[in-house]
Symmetry: C2
Subunit: 227 residues, 2 copies
Amino acid sequence: MRVKREQRPQITEESIITAAWALLGSIGIEEFSMRKLADELNIQAPSLYWYFKNKQSIFQALANEVAKEALVSATLEGPWQEQLTHFATCIKNTLNKYPCSAQLWMRTVPMDPDYLAVINTLLKIIDPLLIEESDKFALAACLLNYVISFELDKYEQRKVDLSMLGEGQEGAQVLFRQSLEQLPEEKTQVIKRMYENGLFKELGSDRMFNTGLRLIVSGIERLAHEG
Amino acid sequence: MRVKREQRPQITEESIITAAWALLGSIGIEEFSMRKLADELNIQAPSLYWYFKNKQSIFQALANEVAKEALVSATLEGPWQEQLTHFATCIKNTLNKYPCSAQLWMRTVPMDPDYLAVINTLLKIIDPLLIEESDKFALAACLLNYVISFELDKYEQRKVDLSMLGEGQEGAQVLFRQSLEQLPEEKTQVIKRMYENGLFKELGSDRMFNTGLRLIVSGIERLAHEG
DNA sequence: ACCTGAACACCGTTCAAGT
DNA sequence: ACCTGAACACCGTTCAAGT
């Protein structure tokens, strides 16, 4: 019986991408390396270079996938306010689904085809509005940046929380307290009050996301009425 | 004559920070390394660890300096809309002054004292408004993220432009054209039109910044009237 | 066509040893 | 107290060599 036949690992671009998502999910983007990715696939690191030009192009492919999924999950119906809110929520949910995808979008060249299609969809929604042509761009960028920043902040906060948890404290809250005490009262007055009211627990919540989203949509509405 | 006396390099925390800014300005944050920073100061890399715990804490100190300067450059006068606009512009200008400072703010723990003071100032400005207490936080974060994202995008665009320039083309524009052609017409319709009207040259301009800023301030105004 | 081993030029950081 | 040399455990990437 030939046993040796199947010894060779069976790698494809697809299996590399799948492994990359798994690795991002387990160790995060900072610790992500070509060698660890190769380990995940039981191959040697240089083998990866037969399928991808370099690490950046793997990240690019991952970011692409997210953009593609965000696009298909969006249904464009109803008034533009609803369309915009819905699309932004779809993007957020997609970013939330894939680990470190917000970071990937940050590191990706913004000239990527699928990423451009996302921006195009945003522009298409606000295109009928009575707004200076060159301003529409600023508005679309503003909304997209909001969604990405929101996911980034959430990730960052979770990271701080986890790293502090290991030291037997109650997470980021302790570090926060210490920072506040280093500054004079007047410079932290408001933030301190909000902290004491427990408002920090809402960081990264759906409620907070919707508030910011409403803010942006309202702002666009207002600009459109002025123009 | 004792010549050997002054052989030893005279390093201080301050001189390290100064050298770090110089290095960030010349090679950017991606290429920044402890060894190169040491070279800049004519010392060996391990010497840096006598003054700073690690690379991250140097970045932290740099980010701090930016936050401090943004704070002092802000004068809080007039109606809240003006205060907010002025403060956001001050932050943007400060970020613009120090190389890679937007990236530094992204990589910095958000629990930094001076960074918190910046958020506190934002919160203080919108504090008198009739808005749900927990929403104020979302609004402040939204505005701050907008300013940071704007500077990040500008940096990224300049980087793409420079790297393409080396290849004898007209910069990012060519890469952009190619990306557009990879997608079906309907998915790039609007963005293509805007490109052909030369609207892309406004990316990162003051005009674009002010449009987004006005959008956010208008949005807050609206939320305040509803509440 | 696909995969590996060895190597190159880098990192951040530690630490015993020097002055 | 301050600085260095040597070393450790990593990187991303290349390339001749294997199957």
